[in-house]
Symmetry: C2
Subunit: 202 residues, 2 copies
DNA sequence: TGTACATCAGTGAACGCGCGTTCACTGATGTAC
DNA sequence: TGTACATCAGTGAACGCGCGTTCACTGATGTAC
């Protein structure tokens, strides 16, 4: 019960990665077919049922993956740059560039996926916003703000970063100029938001 | 050639509205079928071909509709509240609530639609951002900013409003409390952005 | 260690279904005289 | 105005195709003795 279990896990992973691969070619989760995913994973269609009841269940598993990646990216960004939200954003974006797949899904399926998956993703994002709002205490200008205000700022920053993350992942592979422009824009917008946060009380 | 033409236009409209109706039930454009749309429009599947070469062409027509709605909403917001961006946002959101369909599509298909449609929508949004950036000249604190900075602020505000517009349209029909909370949040975030814009130079 | 049996991940044939698309049609509307 | 012909939006039958799902199977891996 070890070689067998491990092989099973590998096939399951192949199915998830097959779905991810198809999605990063621009296909929406809702348009993926069971046979299509099985084909991509190099497995016969019926094998799918050994791992997931149906496509919705696979969607749920993908949402979990996405949540995990988000937490990792956040953790990374936190380690890299403790005190400057500016560097945090850059570190976060660097992580995203190194692991683009889950973020494409996050940005796209967040609004487009079937309800259940969308809600799972939204839950992940909310959790992430809460965590980030706490982090913002360390930012001197926001130390004395109310929790509500910090949540507002965190929500704003994360949404804007995720939105532009989705945009960045749309860019053709070679276009690093456009990519830098986009990152500059995001960094400036985050600075602007933080500037606003220090001069604004609800 | 008048009654006939008009009837044809009506059928075309029925197809577009059928697609819109299906989409506001949560279906993504990419998952809509030709037969499904024809059924919704009360017309035989083959009649579709009298109006559109294929589903992509219908997608393009929908993108045009969306762009038009966006311009109208903007015009409305501008008329209602000339000088306060605050009231502008409220007027914009009021228009959205009165004409939700195109905005659901805008918020969702912007990231999820097939490439061609997505690009058409993105073009509309960019046009809209430019127009709004010009409007921001009238806002005293931004009168002396550079064009680039105003564009940055416009981009930020429009993206955040559109994102939450999509969120608002997800809410169940009766929940006006949540709706007001959401609107409050957006208004506050816009205020915060404007506060930031007045205290920040790139 | 060797043998006999159990498990179960992956296979491959078969099914019914809705899809997009083609085609020849029909009958109301439009045009020419 | 009336008649004879042309147009063409919408119809309905037919097609081939890929889909999700079922089922009995096989053969490698695991378990018990």
């Amino acid at each position: 019960m070890r070689r067998r279990d491990e092989r099973k896990r590998e096939t399951r992973q192949a199915l998830l990665e097959g779905a991810l691969a198809l999605m990063s070619e621009g296909k929406a989760l809702a348009t993926l077919g069971l046979r299509e995913i099985a084909r991509e994973a190099g497995v016969v269609p019926t094998a799918f049922y050994r791992h997931f009841r149906d496509l919705d269940e696979l969607g749920g598993a993908l949402a979990d993956n996405v949540g995990l990646a988000l937490r990792k990216a956040f953790h990374e960004a936190r380690l890299t740059a403790r005190n400057s939200p500016n560097d945090s954003v850059r570190a976060f974006l660097a992580y995203v560039r190194a692991n683009p797949h889950p973020f494409e899904i996050l940005a796209r399926e967040r609004v487009a996926a079937p309800r259940a998956v969308r809600e799972a993703i939204e839950r992940e994002i909310r959790f992430f916003v809460t965590e980030f709002a706490n982090e913002l205490r360390a930012f001197p200008a926001l130390a004395s703000s109310s929790d509500v205000d910090r949540a507002l700022v965190a929500d704003l920053i994360i949404n804007i970063v995720l939105l532009h993350t989705g945009e960045a992942l749309e860019l053709p592979k070679g276009s690093s100029t456009q990519e830098h422009e986009l990152i500059d824009k995001v960094v400036k917008q985050v600075q602007l938001i933080l500037a606003g946060a220090t001069h604004w009380k609800s």
